[in-house]
Symmetry: C2
Subunit: 118 residues, 2 copies
């Protein structure tokens, strides 16, 4: 076996990322991931959407989380984010029937909220 | 308007990438994109799957295409790949009911076929 090359054995399908549980650092489940938002040119994922709230598909809010805020925890089989519920309450979000325009300003707002710079 | 910052206005949701038409350079439709395969650590998309053939969900073959082989063509509203149908016939593929292990060797095989190095 050749284990020296850095090759994409450590990959996951978008289908599997979507719908994965998201926890905060104290182990509370915040919600689950939904769509991913991708930079068209580079193929780099910018955001994963955290979906929570909502019942029977009604009134679900979606929170764009910068990809590098999400850390996969194999023991929990989910992503862990350094965000508590109170922080999430003030975070950028939108309802499914009113998606924002992904302008530069919107991106800055999301990144600033989570203290992420690229 | 501040247009100087390189921010993610040029993003697309995974939901929209999945199911987009894929053409070769002479304009033949090869199929459409399906799942994306993502590097877990970096969030970089490695492959998009090209799905073609198959009727009523039966016998569909999936072809992993390195992401940077896909160029979006706004006029066609689809991706264009520098691959002809004959090349595709010899390309790495698998059927839905028999997915490969995404080992380093498999990744090398796919990239070598399309002449891609990372």
């Amino acid at each position: 076996m050749n284990t020296s090359a850095k090759m994409p054995s450590d990959v996951i399908s978008s289908d599997k990322v979507e719908g994965t549980a998201v926890y905060n650092e104290t182990g509370d489940k915040l919600g689950s991931t939904d769509d991913l938002m991708i930079d068209k040119r580079s193929g780099q994922i910018r955001y994963a959407f955290l979906e929570f709230g909502g019942f029977l598909g009604m009134g679900t809010d979606r929170y764009p989380l910068p990809w590098n805020v999400l850390k996969y925890d194999t023991s929990r089989e989910g992503y862990v984010v350094p965000v508590n519920k109170a922080q999430l309450e003030g975070a950028p979000r939108y309802s499914d029937d009113d998606p924002p325009d992904y302008t530069g300003d919107y991106g800055r707002k999301v990144n600033d909220y989570y203290g992420v710079n690229w």
